[in-house]
Amino acid sequence: MTPDIQRRICIAPAVSSKIKEDTVTLLLPNPRSGYPARYAIQDGLLLEIQKVDPEGTRSWFIHEAVQSDGSLFLMTPIDPVFMFIPILEIMRQQTSESQGRFITLDSLFDSDQYTSLRHLAHLNHVEKHLDLVCEVRDSGMKTYRLDDDKVMAWLKKKVEHLVAKFSTSTALVESVSYTESLPEECRQEAITLASLRLVCAYLNETWASKLSADYKFPELDKMENRTQAPLVTVAEFSKRTASMELDDDLVTAAPKEIKKPKLTPGQRKLANASKAGMKPISSFFAPKKTE
């Protein structure tokens, strides 16, 4: 790290000493909002970056130095399939008549808008990931097309997986604490709902509503005053991603200049004049009352 480069405090998976390649950060469309957001690839693993921004109220001490930017970056692994779904959906160009086209791995990640997409082709087990949600044709060269049924099955599996591992995350358990005094069915439904929401946070609205339609929460629906952890809205999300983008350019609003009247040379001279022993003129002449 050279002093010219701004340092950042980041929590990320440990980098094994074997790998030579540096961590690459990319600008990719967020799968939920479609807005650009920051991701990273480290050792063939896709990571999403979250920025905790104290909005200028915190700084970091790094060894002997102080860094004014007090934000904390979190890099956590993300299943690349979440990224693939919206890309595949766009690329298959489905219409009412046609099921859409099959495309190769290379052309899938070829985009003028997001040149970083090509990095996704080099992720670990990318073909295996694509197999999970695509219809694959192999005629010497593998081609892929998004398969809606496969996507739904995969998404449901994701939800199941989360439900199974639910108790391992304190944050998740706390999010359903409102069900503690409720019957067990209710609690199970709350856990499923929370898991579903978590998965939906990585899906665009079409897929999210499609997935949610397959789940029913009869017990929870009975409770009139159930407290819901609100989902992050797209608007909020874009705000968050926007702030992530800005951090590179360090766009800060220029503080409003305090307008100082320009002084003529004579006035400047007087400003420097010693006024020792001089009382303000208003101490000699009283202000006139305005009629």
Binding site: G266, K269, M278, P280, F284, F285, P287
Partner: protein, 258 residues
């Protein structure tokens, strides 16, 4: 509604030169008496009061009092485009926030018109009481300007002593001392250069030379200047014009740290 016609732009130019180095913005208070201005400098130790009586204009019309807030640097810039001999007409309206200036060249048919944006200035008017000063010295304005300029090289402040013999300006500084004394003499031949002292009591006061030098910017307005002093009250430096005056008031330096 104000309409005031001034025979020569030179007068207005000189007035601006005399105040713009002391104050930044000021209200020109127009009434049926004429146009007046009163403002303190940024440090509030000096005050300038200017009056142009309505007799100085031909014609002069001002049916209701009007305060025209002017940035003096802007006004002096606009006045730079007027010839010294141009006839100036000032026009302003309470409904408008501009001051209109028309410059007419009497020799050819050139007419230039300018509009200057006005501003709202909150200014407090100080009531200046009529004072009987201990000493009133009338002298050549050029002489006063020269003394202030000469003593400035020695010190930032000057001690002025007035006795019935004359007026003495003295400065003490790191590089040395200096003093200029003008004897009272009614020089009949050169009335403009004579020094006339009206004295009730001897007085000795200290003033900032930088401020006094600033006041001498008004020298072109009058060949005479009057210094009026009493102990522990502001010095009055007055330049009289044919139809008005510019008065500067300056707080004296009092105490040991002079």
């Amino acid at each position: 509604m104000l309409e005031a016609r001034l025979q020569t732009a030179a007068l207005l130019k000189k007035i601006l030169e005399a105040v713009k180095e002391l104050i930044t913005d000021a209200n020109f208070d127009c009434s049926d008496n004429g146009i007046a201005l009163q403002a303190m400098d940024n440090s509030h130790v000096a005050l300038v009061a200017m009056l142009l009586r309505q007799e100085g204009f031909e014609p002069y019309r001002c049916d209701r009092t009007l305060a025209l807030g002017v940035n003096l640097v802007s006004l002096s810039k606009v006045l730079r485009s007027a010839g010294n001999e141009d006839i100036v007409t000032l026009k302003a309206d309470s409904s408008n926030d501009t001051l209109s200036l028309t410059f007419e060249n009497p020799d050819n048919d050139r007419i230039s018109e300018y509009e200057l944006k006005l501003m709202d200035i909150d200014s407090e008017h100080l009531g200046i009481p009529d004072t009987t000063y201990d000493a009133v010295v009338s002298m050549s304005s050029a002489e006063f300007a020269r003394i202030c300029r000469d003593l400035q090289v020695l010190s930032d402040s000057v001690q002025i002593d007035v006795t019935k013999e004359g007026i003495k300006f003295a400065a003490k500084g790191e590089l040395g001392n200096g003093a200029v004394t003008l004897k009272q003499a009614a020089n009949v031949d050169k009335e403009d250069e004579s020094t006339v002292i009206e004295l009730n009591r001897n007085c000795s006061l200290n003033f900032s030379l930088k401020y006094l030098n600033n006041f001498t910017k008004a020298t072109p307005l009058s060949s005479r200047v009057t210094l009026s002093m009493s102990s522990e009250v502001p010095l009055l430096v007055e330049y009289k014009m044919e139809t008005g005056y510019i008065r500067y008031y300056l707080a004296p330096k009092i105490g040991d740290d002079v």
